[in-house]
């Protein structure tokens, strides 16, 4: 018991120190580090919010790119007329509402049908907006008002912090347990008094909120966007790969996965610009074959193997 308490105090202390370090980073580190970490946080936000819904329920959503794109376009449309925090909030809310609507229509679909529909949503929005821009407004791309790299970094860090609190709260609450029960036996969950439909739709929408917010922030760094940049299908697959790579059993799994993956991407793109996708793919295949529980699973396995550790933490 005492050990558990001191463990918790240790983790809390660690998180606080880490947070202070991250918050003071722009003062200490280079511009490059700030920009790289902004990308890392963007992927972490998308991956953690994806895991919030798809992890426990097993409904694999390929819609992140759609929700992210809604945020990007909100920034492009409202960036000049509203202050940035309001734009981010509206971007998140836009995705939230879209997810409510889509969730209500599709969360009765199971397995591969749900996967296909969510991916279809990305394509649908992409082509709808291309059509709209070409035929109605007569443009193909838009400029987004920019802000400094440090501001973008702090905004990402803020959204990340709110997301971590939300995820932590959900995982610890009875709703976290209920989401897991939906993934295990949805029918039994419904007959145990859980309003499965409402819970699925709301969680789906909450996760979409954070993706939209991340999109709205990220757009300001890109300065120019068009539908193909905003609704990039790769952004739908990345969170899935990152979450699998990191391991979904623990809260920090998707964070580690996203962080390593983003850094890896950056590293490979700069060193092997022509082969990076190929190398990336090979690493992914190896990870799925040899790390079924992700990096976190591997770490836990190694931790247990250290002699004398085996009984210490039970």
């Amino acid at each position: 018991m005492r050990r558990a308490i001191s463990n918790r105090a240790f983790i809390l202390g660690f998180v606080v120190v880490l947070f202070i370090l991250l918050a003071s980073l722009p003062l200490l580190a280079s511009q490059y580090a700030v920009i790289l970490l902004t990308s890392v946080f963007m992927y972490i936000i998308i991956t953690v919010s994806w895991t919030m819904f798809s992890g426990p329920t097993g409904y694999i959503s390929l819609a992140p790119a759609a929700f992210f794109g809604v945020g990007v376009y909100t920034s492009a449309l409202l960036g000049l007329s509203l202050p940035l925090p309001a734009v981010i909030g509206i971007g998140g809310l836009g995705s939230f509402c879209l997810a409510l609507l889509v969730g209500a229509l599709t969360l009765r679909l199971k397995g591969i049908y749900f996967v296909m529909f969510t991916f279809g949503l990305v394509e649908l929005l992409l082509h709808f907006i291309i059509w709209w821009e070409v035929n109605i407004t007569g443009t193909t791309g838009r400029m987004v008002p920019t802000v400094s790299n440090t501001t973008v970094y702090y905004l990402m860090l803020t959204v990340f912090t709110v997301l971590m609190f939300t995820t932590y709260f959900i995982r610890r609450s009875k709703y976290g347990l209920a989401l897991q029960s939906i993934g295990e036996e949805e029918e039994a969950a419904a007959h145990t008094g859980i309003n499965v439909t409402a819970l699925k739709i709301i969680t789906f929408a909450v996760s979409a909120f954070f993706m939209g917010a991340a999109g709205a922030i990220m757009a300001t760094r890109w300065t120019y966007i068009d539908p193909r940049i905003a609704f990039n299908p790769l952004l739908s697959f990345m969170p899935v790969l990152m979450a699998i790579f990191g391991g979904m059993g623990q809260l920090y799994g998707p964070i580690i996965g996203a962080a390593i993956f983003t850094y890896l991407e950056e590293f490979l793109i700069t060193r092997f610009p022509y082969h990076y996708m190929l190398i990336f793919g090979i690493i992914m295949v190896l990870a799925i074959v040899y790390l079924p529980d992700g990096v976190v699973g591997l770490l836990q396995k190694l931790w247990k193997r250290i002699p004398g550790r085996k009984h210490a933490d039970t």
Binding site: L177, A178, E184, E185, E187, A188, A189
Partner: protein
């Protein structure tokens, strides 16, 4: 007034009438047995009561209130809980969490986690599973998984419990234990409807039995009446069988 009453219940799958025009009633505090050959429509009737399926026609009243067409979670929160023929447990969760979900989301929502743990622990003890509370549900034996389903159902604090073949696949000792559990649940004041193929158990535990055949109700009565009914013996127990009773 009966606690549960169904009038003219019908349900068909394609051209097959799984349940056709069945009237039934369950009295407060009793144990009603539901028997019939495979495919007679017993589980379909359970699915209609618990709203897993929507009836083609008919109305169901629970404590006088029309509950036809409500969602499963609403039915559960009104006080009707069920178990499943093929166990549907939350396999990767510890037994305790399985039961806690019932406490959290059943008839009394808004329970603190402390109270939910206490309640779930008590129910696991009631079901004889206290030693296994942190075991993942998938690692339990079939008999214990069935008990776990019962504990989870009880955690929602039902007034009416629907048990779907709780004894199927159990050995004689486990059946005896299951029968004991059913009686203990009745002693708590909970009304029970049970589907069962284990004749010995149903004859001994139930106060009243209803027989379904090809989706129709063909008989209803005390265990003795059912065991001696010509129709029932012919369609269900076989020509020469004289089961039950004794």
């Amino acid at each position: 007034m009966p606690i549960l009453e169904g009038k003219g219940m019908s349900k068909s799958f394609g051209g097959l009438a799984a349940v056709s025009n069945v009237d039934f009633h369950v009295e407060q505090g009793e144990i009603l047995g539901l028997i019939g050959p495979n495919g007679a429509g017993k589980t379909t009737l359970f699915n209609l009561i618990s709203a897993a399926l929507v009836p083609k026609s008919g109305t169901i009243r629970f404590k006088g209130i029309n509950i036809t067409g409500l969602k499963p979670y609403k039915i559960c929160r009104m006080g009707v809980a069920r178990t499943f023929q093929a166990v549907k447990i939350f396999g990767h969760m510890p037994a305790l969490d399985n039961v806690m979900l019932g406490s959290y989301f059943g008839m009394t929502p808004g329970l603190s986690s402390k109270d939910a743990v206490r309640e779930a622990t008590e129910l696991l003890e009631f079901a004889g599973l206290s030693a296994l509370k942190s075991t993942p549900a998938k690692d339990l034996t079939l008999a214990n998984q069935k008990r776990l389903e019962v504990a989870r159902a009880l955690a929602t604090k039902p007034e009416l419990l629907l048990l779907d073949e709780m004894m199927a696949g159990l050995n004689p000792t486990e059946i005896a234990q299951a029968m004991e559990l059913v009686t203990k649940i009745q002693d708590k004041g909970i009304t029970i409807v049970m589907i069962e193929h284990v004749m010995k158990a149903i004859m001994k535990v139930c106060e009243r039995i209803m027989v379904l055949h090809h989706g129709q109700k063909i008989a209803e009565g005390t265990p003795r009446e059912i065991a001696t009914s010509e129709t029932v013996i012919k369609v269900y127990l076989g020509e020469r069988a004289r089961a039950g009773g004794s």
